[in-house]
Amino acid sequence: MSWVGRSIRRVEDPTLLRGVGMFVGDIGGAAAVRFVRSPVASGLIGAVRGPAYTIEDLDADGVGNIEAVLHRPDYVRLAQPLLARERVRYVGEPVAVVVGDTAAEAEDLAEQVELDIEPGPAAVGIDGALAPGAPLVHPDESDSNVMVAGEMATPGLAEALDRAHAVVDLETVSGRQAALPLEARGSHAVTERFGGRTTLHASIQAPHMVRTVICDLLGMPEADLRVVAPDVGGAFGQKLPLAREDAIVVWLSRRLGRPVAWIEDRSENLMASWHSREQRYRLRGGFDAGAHLEALQADVVANVGAWPCYPITWGVEPLMALAELPGPYTPEHYGVRSRGVASHTCPMSPYRGVSRPAITLALERLMDIAAARLGIDPVEIRRRNLQSEFPHTSPTGLRHDEGTYREAMEMAVRHVDLGAFRSRQQTARAAGGSQPGIGICTFSERTGYGTPAFAARAMGVTPGYENVELSMDPSGYVTARIGASPHGQGLETALSQIVADEVGTDPGRVRVVASDTDRTPYGWGSFASRAMVLAGGATYLAAQQLATQLGSVAAEVLEAAADDIFLADGRATVAGTSVGVEIAELARIAHHHTQRLPDGAAPGLSAQAGYDPAGTFSNACHVAEVEVDPDTGGVSVRRFVVVEDAGRLINPMIADGQIRGGVAQGIANALLEEVVYDEDGNILTTSLMDYLPPTVAEIPDIEIMHLETLSDATVTGAKGLGEGGTIGAPAAVLNAVNDALAHLGVELNEMPATPERVREAVRTATGTPAG
């Protein structure tokens, strides 16, 4: 019996259910750090008065600048100080830092700090930042706000567009969103009085990377800094980049010789953590008479805020759009210009899905609009355009391994019974009032990025591989030390299932150690839907080695050939016989009676493996049914169907949990959540009264079905699916909203589709059906 493929309960849960987990804010025993943040979007810093540390103190200690680098000629390279130097560039930028005995005292102290800032003009929003004469965010380094600009075109694009049977032009906009982990960021540092070694606990996704960059900034050996990510209350990308605050916390603990902690509050988190997704797409699609998308041209702009994030940089959104925009479709000709434009707003980091929710919105609106124009059904146009031959190489050179793009869509459409829906819709249209709509979204999710995928980005550091060390102790329990850093995904449980199958034990005898640089091999962490593929692959490879070692010990003990030994149910058995030995006994022998091991065998039981694939593509189809009230602009999601193909599912329950949570964030992206700035760069959404994550009232039950195309691009056959829900849901919902109002001639291509925007679209509608 295999453990892989079973929905076993998570080993992570009992601690969390009892309320005895340890999040950063639970550690305590530290002085409280509070940042004094800029109240204006742009300005020159004069005096800073009060009991605070400033950039001058960091400079005096020789603390370095953050350099998030892309080796590209079109990339503007900057050195970012840990606290603002000379100018502030967004509301919430840290200018000074205070330390109090308690959090309340630190807040009191922060209020005593006076900042003299001469406000300047601010570039806000995509148009504001691109306008001629726009205020420059980094005037010393660049004479424009364009910080990265990628461009490519396949030969013959213009001609292909000229000869197209139908050309569809489209502009889509994605509003700025915040990842909003329920636990905001935070860090806690203690420096040993003797020896000077520092331990940083931080709510982060990539502890090894954070250790490297903080040590580089502070000029200390990595061996002198231990970084631990304890329980992390959600992250979704927001805790992937270096937080400048975390580096300052380490600096303060070393400078002051006392434990210090920074616990971000929600207002800081919304204002000054990281934002994402503010993007605009202008697409031109050329379709032939058979409704096949022959040529795709795109102009993409991402508002990337005031500073790059380390190590991903502010190229991540625009360059992902450039590389992945053709999505699951097969245009022969593709041309794109994709720019990241700086503004006087909070910096951007990758957030679950990164650019793909916006890419998918653009493509899926294009398909629906083209279908209407060409007089065919939204299902039919996708049927004619989705990838169906594999491997498929995209115009940007990405290799798509085998997927089930069409099959997933057909399955989803059968499940929702489109015919029955259309007749309900006809009835509703005749009756007036709230209108039902249905929206389809098909997409690919690139996952399992290893070194080759990241190397193509030419980053200053190239993430990728994952390492795993496995050992079996004398009691027969397995410890897996992993470089990845799970924070709620259930990776410990899933990896224990992989180990259990290979080693012939049960998952209860496997312990996974993660998120502690003192106890784990160097690795890159958990992000980009990669942990199951990367850490899972490395675990699988190491477990096979461990199984081989156990087999050779068993062969010696049982006087059989190693090839005849089977490991299962806690025993090593000679094939075809009942002769066997407990694995726990083999573990004793391997450690305590090494004289019984075969000649030349190393004592103990341990294995190490790294894994570094090129990457793979999951695929899915989402179908949303909504109800739109044309009079109020209110939209509610009535039904949501997902057909997902993420290859082999290690633990289907955990996979479904990832999909459901992702879809909820995607629905929020489509309808609710938006970070809003006024024209001066003041942020207006700094509480959960203004920024609206969904409650259970806004999220329907998600109906999930799976296809399992085992990937030949990964050793486990698993493809990764952490972001898919978030990627597909926005387009499915927007297509459904448009479908609901199609008879009024409404076309709404901006998300979130708030009641205000829906009303505006209804008011300005042509009154005749789109197409």
């Binding site: 259910l17 009892r18 329920l182 636990e183 709620g488 964030q665 959960l688 409650t695």
Partner: protein, 165 residues
């Protein structure tokens, strides 16, 4: 004039939490959540927003779910306070809701979980036969960023149904 620091005006407070009296000293401005976490050492009550929206800090005050970030410790004196740490039995047996959240995968990162457990404990104790729609409405008091809510609803419903069976 002598400056009075906030600490100088701390007052003695007795909080009865999970059946145990905690004698603490708290400034009048100190919230119940901070006091539970820092003075009573009960860090299972989490702070997600500190302005009463997310519900991660939900505890029971005389059986009613309340936001402990919106109450001062001095207001809770004399009340029976229950937190997530008090849910499991003395022998460590998980409360039926804890079991159900585990079985139904009603948590991922676990940060909102104590708040949802206390909210649903309060709801089921006062309205054991609550209908599905009312239950959803009650659970819409709190935010979860990981699960999409469905499995939380299923977990709570399963406990309601088992108790009524």
């Amino acid at each position: 004039m002598t400056e009075i620091s906030p600490a100088d005006v701390a007052v003695p407070v007795v909080l009865r939490v999970n059946g145990t009296d905690h004698r603490v000293s708290a400034e009048p401005r100190r919230t119940l959540a901070d006091t539970l976490r820092e003075e009573c050492g009960l860090t299972g009550t989490h702070l997600g927003c500190e302005h009463g929206v997310c519900g991660a800090c939900t505890v029971l005050l005389d059986g009613e779910p309340v936001r402990s970030c919106l109450l001062f410790a001095v207001q809770a004196q004399g009340a029976e306070i229950r937190t997530v740490e008090g849910l499991a039995g003395d022998d460590g047996t998980l409360h039926p809701l804890q079991e159900a959240f585990w079985r139904h995968h009603g948590l991922q990162c676990g940060f909102c979980t104590p708040g949802f457990l206390m909210l649903s404990t309060g709801v089921l104790e006062t309205r054991p036969d609550i209908g599905d729609d009312e239950l959803r409405e009650a659970l819409s008091s709190n935010l979860c960023r990981c699960t999409g809510y469905q499995t939380i609803v299923e977990a709570v419903r399963s406990v309601r149904d088992a108790a009524g069976a």
